[in-house]
Symmetry: C2
Subunit: 165 residues, 2 copies
DNA sequence: ACAATATGTCAGCTTTGTTGACACTCCAAG
DNA sequence: CTTGGAGTGTCAACAAAGCTGACATATTGT
């Protein structure tokens, strides 16, 4: 073994370290979805409903096409989810003002209330993880995740992020 | 607004920061699975097959029950996946030596070869993200993910991690 | 002998994704 | 004003991957 081939600054790039990162991502994502899943399964809903509710709440008045781009599913798949949410009175679909082909989506009071329950649960876990790890770790966490995104997804993530606060 | 209510050290725990963390996790996970998914869809396989292959490779000779505990699915669900992998000659199931009720699972040569293709793709993305973000960020990333796991999952993650290298 | 364990399998159901086809509304350009 | 295309909704059919419940088999340990 030649010395100095692998410098200290590259030690975290060994296959072993990478595999640990992969497994950490897998197990953490299961924790990440566990709390909302528990709430959703008591109703007739699943993760797809949660995602729709999240992003409608995030950008009220968004169109179906925009939601399709963010979620990356087919309109048939999204439509099935939206239909149940509209039927159940959690989402309101208003005909577009300037372009009447578009549908602008909004959460109703009930929809907002469910969104709060779901995001409270998810935020509580995220808050606890952030608190445990500390501000520097949080910054690193965000940096790595952002680098892991696909180009188009990263664009959408940043666009949402910058529209926030 | 009163000054000093929210100290600098807690700024990263605002709902806005937490929501960004949640969305980062969502978009990053899609990037995380994108490359293996592309490889898998060219065959008749899905993510469930990838997970089985990953953990069999990780712990050769593991039993079905152990795999069930790690993956958190029902045996019917896992069995469907394992059956196709065994039929296709990617996984070998050997009767247990000491306890003949158990089945010890191993990757065949073909199974190992597919595992390499999948993990090479996934590691490449992880490596690139790690390199972009730097060692400190990687450490933070791992810390936050570990805190985000459920208790039982964290136990399994650590057990795998410590058995490595 | 008997109970418990590990595994496999059958049937049936759910959620969430997919294609393909088609209709309707509406905007904009010719 | 007609016509093409975009945005939307819906139908049918299907697939992957999870679930429950029930049951069979082999094996182990008491």
């Amino acid at each position: 073994m030649g010395e100095g081939i692998r410098s200290d600054s590259l030690l975290y790039l060994t296959d072993e370290q990478l595999r640990q990162g992969i497994e950490a991502m897998y197990f953490a994502y299961r924790g990440f979805t566990a709390d909302p899943d528990r709430i959703l399964e008591s109703m007739a809903y699943g993760r797809a409903h949660h995602r729709a509710i999240h992003f409608i709440n995030r950008a009220p008045g968004t169109t179906v096409t925009n939601l399709l781009a963010i979620l990356g599913v087919t309109k048939q798949s999204l439509n099935r989810v939206l239909r149940t949410l509209i039927e159940d009175g959690l989402v309101e679909s208003r005909v577009g003002k300037s372009d009447r082909r578009e549908r602008n989506l909004y959460l109703t009071e009930d929809g907002t209330s469910l969104e709060h329950r779901l995001s409270d649960a998810q935020r509580a876990r995220m808050r606890s993880a952030f608190r445990d790890a500390g501000p520097d770790a949080v910054s690193g966490f965000r940096q790595v995740l952002e680098s892991m995104m696909d180009g188009e997804l990263r664009r959408q993530y940043k666009s949402l992020r910058d529209s926030g606060q």
